[in-house]
Symmetry: C2
Subunit: 150 residues, 2 copies
């Protein structure tokens, strides 16, 4: 029983929900994955591991993991919602390349604190951040420059 499991079970208990086999399987695969993932990919992983959980249950379990504080909804990429492991890195922002989909993560508590204090002024209670930018990564930016020249 690892830390994640403890947290999840605790949340489920508090909410009168049960730690079932499918939820256990999902939890495990989520934390054997790179931090960023979308639900379809997760579902594939589960089936690749010869586990059997229905797609519906996988989707249904995401909000539970979110409410337990283990994962958070992160960015949206290629028309899919992405989640990410919260514990990995504390707070960071994303630079998403429009061309190749690459995601650059940058740690900066400074931006976040600044945003927090701006929200304070409006008595707005922040539950989640989304700081980021879309554009072109170095590679794609260079590539495009060359194409334009020719």
């Amino acid at each position: 029983m690892n830390e994640h499991e403890k947290i999840f079970i605790d949340y489920l208990k508090r909410s009168d929900l049960k730690y079932t086999r499918p939820r256990q399987i999902i939890l495990n695969i989520v934390f054997n994955n790179p931090s960023h993932f979308d639900v379809e990919t997760l579902y594939d992983q589960i089936r690749r591991n010869n586990r059997d959980v229905s797609r519906a249950t996988v989707y249904r379990t995401m909000p539970l993991l979110v409410k337990s504080g283990l994962i958070k909804q992160s960015l949206r990429c290629q028309a899919k919602d992405q989640y990410e492991n919260v514990s990995d890195q504390d707070h960071h922002l994303h630079l998403v390349c429009n061309n190749c989909g690459k995601i650059i993560e940058i740690n900066s508590s400074e931006l976040e604190n600044r945003l927090r204090s701006l929200a304070e002024v409006h008595k707005f209670k922040i539950l989640d951040f989304s700081i980021g930018a879309q554009g072109l990564c170095r590679k794609c930016s260079n590539k495009r420059d060359k194409e334009t020249k020719s």
Copy 2:
């Protein structure tokens, strides 16, 4: 012929595109709307004004307006992409209430500049920002507190 029209026509000319009736109608409704809108709502507006433009054309015109610099993709709300009028306020960030959907806009070029310089380090070419947070607005936060007490 207003400023928006000038800018749009100029962009279209530069791109060998034509300023057609449907594009004119869309442009007008976009700039008679509150700054934030999603395409479905825009499409409804157009039909409510007894104009006839196909849904496909409305969707198709969005990227043109974006490239012309008149609007930008803003936040995502209720599973729909939102656009917003660029000229209204220059740069600002969004606090979105998870409960009532209210959007609070905050002007701050400071955060943006900071983000820009962080991206610079990675030679990442920023095309668009999204700085914001989700949570509870003052009203909804208060309401929830009361409910919890009872």
